[in-house]
């Protein structure tokens, strides 16, 4: 009895809540690292396996419209049916192959265009004065305040045969007939470059902002002309930003659906549209899932390259 009474009151009470807090505090590091794991598990890995499962099934008249992967027969035997027909079909039908190639062509070209326009823009923002800089950065982010769909529709209004640009050029007497812009690949490029430009500029800005101007001065001091300094100092040191920005443009642009659908019409085939058609119009979930899986692997490759460069860059730093 005396022992107990000697203990300080806080310990003898030892409420469940405070014990819980102490346990959380001592394990907070593990708890925090677990969160992204669960996030990836539930929102990436699990959906991926579901899609992968569907891609290995057959189209069936059922709801959902595909055969089951695992079946228990009455006699208690478990059968697993893996059907690779969908992948063979995608490989053999040139429509899919051509569309993948076309998607990659458009996304690679758009990425290069974003880089060519975005790099000088980012550079100019970094070099701008203390008043202009936040305003310019705000202007880059500003389009996100309006709906993406609305902005693409606006481009339809601008690019149409009877649209703003054609009307203006005709009124000025520069052209007699409207130039066909909407429903061409040109319109798709405009849409993608316009939409994804901020994703190129912001990472570029972030890496350029960290560059020490005395490096440029040191290069000049050692006899290097401005163009040479750009290629030997600035460009290599902004490479992490170039890679990050390029991936942020390239990956979503490859799978883009809305822009080719609205601005390209039926004339520009991109894999996102094919996927959507298979899924909703043909209701062929297994083929749609296979198209998605193949796309994923096409995109995983550049991500791995990116990770490699990131790892190398952080080693040097």
């Amino acid at each position: 009895m005396t022992d107990v009474s000697n203990k300080p009151p806080s310990v003898s009470q030892g409420s469940f809540g405070s014990q819980m807090m102490r346990r959380i505090q001592s394990h907070w590091r593990q708890i925090i690292t677990v969160i992204p794991f669960f996030w990836l598990l539930f929102f990436f890995l699990a959906p991926f396996f579901i899609v992968a499962k569907i891609s290995l099934a057959e189209l069936a008249i059922a709801s959902p419209p595909f055969t089951k992967l695992v079946e228990w027969t009455d006699s208690g035997i478990v059968t697993i049916r893996l059907v690779f027909d969908n992948f063979v079909y995608i490989w053999e039908d040139s429509l899919y192959f051509d569309t993948y190639v076309n998607s990659l062509k458009i996304s690679v070209t758009s990425t290069i265009l974003c880089l060519l326009f975005g790099y000088p823009i980012a550079y100019a923002i970094v070099r701008s004065g203390p008043v202009a800089k936040p305003l310019l950065l705000f202007a880059i982010i500003l389009p996100f305040w309006t709906s993406f769909l609305l902005r693409v529709y606006s481009w339809m209004g601008l690019l149409a045969d009877q649209g703003t640009i054609n009307n203006l050029l005709i009124a000025l007497g520069i052209i007699d007939e409207p130039i066909r812009m909407l429903y061409t690949e040109f319109a798709v490029y405009i849409g993608i470059v316009y939409t994804y430009m901020p994703f190129m500029i912001l990472p570029l800005y972030a890496t350029m902002e960290k560059l020490d101007n005395s490096l440029n001065e040191a290069a000049a001091d050692l006899g290097s002309r401005p163009t040479n300094t750009f290629f030997r100092i600035t460009l290599p040191l902004t490479m992490p930003g170039i890679i990050a920005g390029s991936l942020l443009v390239f990956i979503p642009a490859t799978g883009e659906y809305v822009i080719p659908d609205l601005l390209g019409g039926g004339n520009v085939q991109m894999i996102g549209r094919v996927l959507f058609n298979e899924f909703s119009r043909n209701s062929d979930w297994p083929v749609a899932a296979a198209v998605a899986i193949v796309l994923l692997f096409i995109l995983v490759l550049p991500i791995m390259v990116f990770q490699y460069f990131q790892g190398k860059a952080s080693e040097e730093r």
């Binding site: 005395s214 490096l215 040191a218 290069a219 001091d221 050692l222 040191l237």
Partner: protein, 380 residues
Amino acid sequence: MTVSSPSGAAPWLDQNEQQPLVQIKGVTKKYGEVTAVDNVDLDIYQGELFCLLGGSGCGKSTLLRMLAGFEDLNSGSITIDGVDMANVPAYERPTNMMFQSYALFPHMTVEKNVAFGLEQDEVPKFDIADRVHDILKLVELEDFKKRKPKQLSGGQRQRVALARALVKRPKLLLLDEPLAALDKKLRKQTQFELANIQEKVGVTFIVVTHDQEEAMTLSSRMAVMDAGRFQQIGTPTEIYEFPESRFVADFIGSANIFEGRVTEDGADHVRVQTEFCEVYIDHGHSVKVGSKIWVALRPEKIRITKSEEAVTGPNQVSAVIDDIGYLGETSIYKVALPNGDIFDVTRPNQTRPTHAMQQITWEDKVSISWDSSSAMLLNK
């Protein structure tokens, strides 16, 4: 010191012997309303190690950056080796700079960093390799040539920066606070190394520093700068022993400065009456009898003697020990004069204090005195 002038070690005294390597004439630089460098004139000669010393914002770095070609002048001219630099861009100047931040290229190895400048001049490849090797040997970094700057210590990076700036054999090497990023011990050691390297390569150095000890150790001549102007230009000894103004006397080392009035002005001596004693100086000064003047006394040039009795006569005052600071190698005594002024007096601790020894301690009555050559007279 390597000096090409046959007449000796002080080309700045030899007016007609040699054309200055660097001529700065009436140079002014303004940033908006602020005048960073204010109508400055300076000649620097081949082989000098010249220090620009001053507090932050005094214009010393701006002047250095104008020499390198990173800043335009508002007025005046800079001539290097007889060529006016007005329309010469930084990448064509015969100068190289060692940056305060070192500005090493982080994506290049030590070797590549050092070779960069030579590549710009299209020096043949084998020649580049040789010169890089030699300069890395000079700064003792041959074993580190394959490393990236991030894999080096602060002292090693500093030496890479020096090697990179020296390898092009510039006519003029500009060093912006070359030792500021090093810790104290390394800094002291590097000061001497830097001076030795300068001696070996014979390149003219202009060093910007805020550290007076660094300036004193390194320089053949130095300029004390304040508010965009030179307060005094001279050898370290001249500046320390013969300061021309209260600013310089106080900025370089420390000084006890007090007012007085000139009572006698002879060819070989000056007498000044102050509040607490007469100051006698055993050499002539260009001063007017009756004019107000300042007297400066270096703390290490004052002697303290224990004395209960009041002293009178020139160059000595009775005082009381107010405070003592023990610094190890020396001690600082704060002594209170009859008029309330407090003087700093330093004494080397040449013997280990023991209890038996009679020591000067708090509240002791003492007398302080100095040699008749010690007091410095300042007009401004």
